[in-house]
């Protein structure tokens, strides 16, 4: 692949533009890759080596995070990762139709999820197992979707966590609408019950029209919504460079609201930036775009084979930025956790995995009636007849069993 230096723009008023060779697609991609590196624009509070770095702007948003709270964030990430690995294993054993792994994105999700207040609303895509965890949804409740017993098991009103959205980008517009409703309901301001919405999507989604429309709507209605883009570098096999010529967070400027890039593998930074953004929304300053710069360490789903499209060097480089390991190192070095703590979390994780497995094995298949259940709130006589006829048909088999 050519280096970015080989592709240079002609200077305005400089040499004749016609002499500049048109860059090849490879050169374009190489150049764009350069714009997508983290660098100075990235908010970071905890380095990959586990060093706490001062940040005058964002430190105040994590003032309350002492040893106990940091251990809590560590525990969250370990448990969520363990549940995620169990999901992968269950799929491989034929227990789930598919699994969508979050490996590598634990900090991006726990940081954002723990920044949400109970009254806030969250709209996930389909990889947000960590955010779901923070909203009080048990990993068991996510299994139903991927095993195929229910489309969405949890109560979105009780948990203030919308159903997973599979169609890319749909939820971004839905979240903008919900946030408009929060504003119309007078829930924006300095009162303690002020609300905000956070919507989760990936780098690939930023190419969808719905994400653009969500940005436009939120901007013109000052909707209190945080757009939380987890840039995990790959939309199945398509790299971020296939979605944008600009770093994604810079797009916010075109819509007239702030965009910020955070180290998505730094749970403390994700927490701080998310708290700041949610506060901007709650107090009425309108939307914010956060780009959590992270990496999907596993496949897009268990149906995917990332070795076909990405280099192992890339994976190895990102392993050094592991979101859990840096917190572990920091806790140890600063004396905020004893070895027993890590052992306890490990035991707890194993217990969680074991419960998840047992739950999965014992999930009953829904009865045939489920096909027809709750299609309409107000019923539909045509559908009712179809259901009755089908159930009669099933009942006609020996013993009426089906």
């Amino acid at each position: 692949m050519s280096s970015p230096e080989q592709w240079t723009h002609p200077e305005p008023g400089g040499g004749p533009a016609a002499t500049a060779a048109k860059p090849t697609p490879e050169q374009v991609i190489a150049g764009l890759r350069a714009t997508n590196e983290g660098g100075a624009e990235l908010v970071e509070l905890l380095t990959p080596e586990g060093e706490r770095v001062a940040n005058p702007e964002f430190d105040k948003y994590v003032d309350d995070i002492g040893a106990e709270q940091l251990r809590g964030l560590y525990r969250d990430m370990v448990l969520v990762r363990r549940a995620d690995r169990e999901g992968n294993a269950l799929q491989r054993q034929g227990q789930l139709g598919i699994w969508v792994p979050l490996l590598g994105q634990e900090a991006a999700q726990i940081g954002a999820g723990r920044a949400l207040k109970p009254q806030d609303m969250a709209f996930p895509s389909y990889r947000e197992h960590g955010v779901a965890w923070c909203r009080g949804i048990k990993p068991e409740q996510i299994l139903a979707t991927f095993r195929g017993t229910q489309h969405s098991e949890w109560d979105p009103v009780q948990h203030r966590f919308h159903p997973y959205t599979i169609v890319i980008g749909n939820q971004v517009v839905n979240a903008a609408g919900y946030a408009m409703g929060q504003r119309f309901d007078g829930k924006v301001g300095n009162e303690p019950d002020a609300e905000a919405t956070m919507v989760f999507f990936g780098d690939g989604a930023t190419s969808q029209g719905d994400v653009h429309e969500g940005f436009v709507w939120a901007a013109v209605y000052d909707a209190p919504v945080v757009f939380y883009c987890q840039n995990n570098q790959w939309a199945i096999s398509e790299p971020t460079e296939r979605q944008s010529r600009l770093p994604l967070y810079q797009r916010a400027r075109g819509y007239g609201f702030p965009g910020i890039r955070v180290d998505g593998n730094d749970v403390l930074a994700c927490l701080a930036v998310s708290r700041w953004a949610l506060e901007e929304c709650r107090t009425g300053n309108g939307p914010v775009l956060i780009e959590a710069f992270t990496y999907r360490m596993d496949a897009h789903t268990t149906s995917d084979d990332p070795t076909r499209y990405r280099l192992s060097d890339e994976l190895e480089a990102w392993k050094l930025k592991d979101p859990i390991e840096r917190v572990r190192v920091h806790l140890v070095r600063s004396g905020m956790a004893e070895p027993e703590f890590f052992d306890e979390v490990q035991v707890e994780a194993d217990q969680l995995a074991s419960e998840l497995r047992a739950y999965c094995f014992n999930m009953p298949d829904p009865p045939a009636e489920r096909i027809f259940s709750k299609v309409y709130a107000g019923g539909n006589p045509v559908l009712d007849q179809q259901r009755d006829e089908y159930l009669d048909y099933l009942a006609g088999f020996e013993g009426g069993a089906h």
Binding site: M180, G181, D185, S373
Partner: protein, 339 residues
Amino acid sequence: MAAPVMDKKVAVPAAPTKLTMGKAINMGLRAAMERDPKVLVMGEDVGKMGGVYRITDGLQKDFGEHRVLDTPLSESGIVGTAVGLAVRGFRPVCEIQFEGFIFPAFDQISSQVAKLHYRTQGMLKLPLVIRVPFGGGVGAVEHHSESPEAYFAHMPGIKVVSCANPVDAYWMIQQAIDSDDPVIFFEPKRRYHEKAEIDTDATPYPLFKSRVVRPGTTATLASYGPLVKTCLDAATAAAEDGQDLEVIDLRTLSPLDLDPVFESVRRTGHLVVASEAPGEVSIASEIADRVQRECFYSLEAPVLKVTGFDTPYPPSKVEEEYLPDLDRVLDAVDRSLAW
């Protein structure tokens, strides 16, 4: 299924002599908004402009910019934010300016609007209405004359209705807003100026029911939206030839209420279905299928369809050829009777 209940009386302008269908929908929207502060009207140009057909005229002035939203030009945005607003507890009424522009919102309608109730097994309700002026006959350019209702009737999880006269328009829009299911509300734009007297104290006819609008004995005509008037005119013309045609206004396209059609066909033995939409894989073909199943021994002739052709909507200078008219309807009746 119980009809939505209208328990509160609504202020009505004095002496409502005869109102156009457009004004009737406007009054219906106004009544719903007065009854429930959670009802919002949203769409392109619906505020200050009052909509390109003036259906929302005056609503923003009376209810404010947070109840009547002049939105960005963004159909997926209109329907997609309405989903979020409905989840939040509002009852949004979206206007899609013309039926040919609904397709940018098709994704939101099919992926979210139609499925959230099913996906969550009733934990979320989507009480939103999408108003769509539809159909031809107004001499418009491309994308302003189509009849896309079959796409939506094919979509489980939403309900599809179409009004054909001012009285129904007034009540049906309110009933659609009261429905806890999402409703696509097709308005026959070339009938916006038809007039009728509206008794706002009357008990409304149930929303998801079809209705015999002219009783008869010789043959049955079933239609909806803009062609109901065409069918009634055809029946009047046929009466001069001694034919007594029964006309049924379907009103609800999903769910289809075909019991009155079955009952009628069992008496007449002849059915002609009229619709502006292309006939292949259409509302009309669904009716033909069900009627042959339910009324096989009563039929004296095959069910005949009088529809638009299976082409894109043509340039407007030939739309009179494309659109089923009184003569084509009567020709089909004659063919059926001569079978």
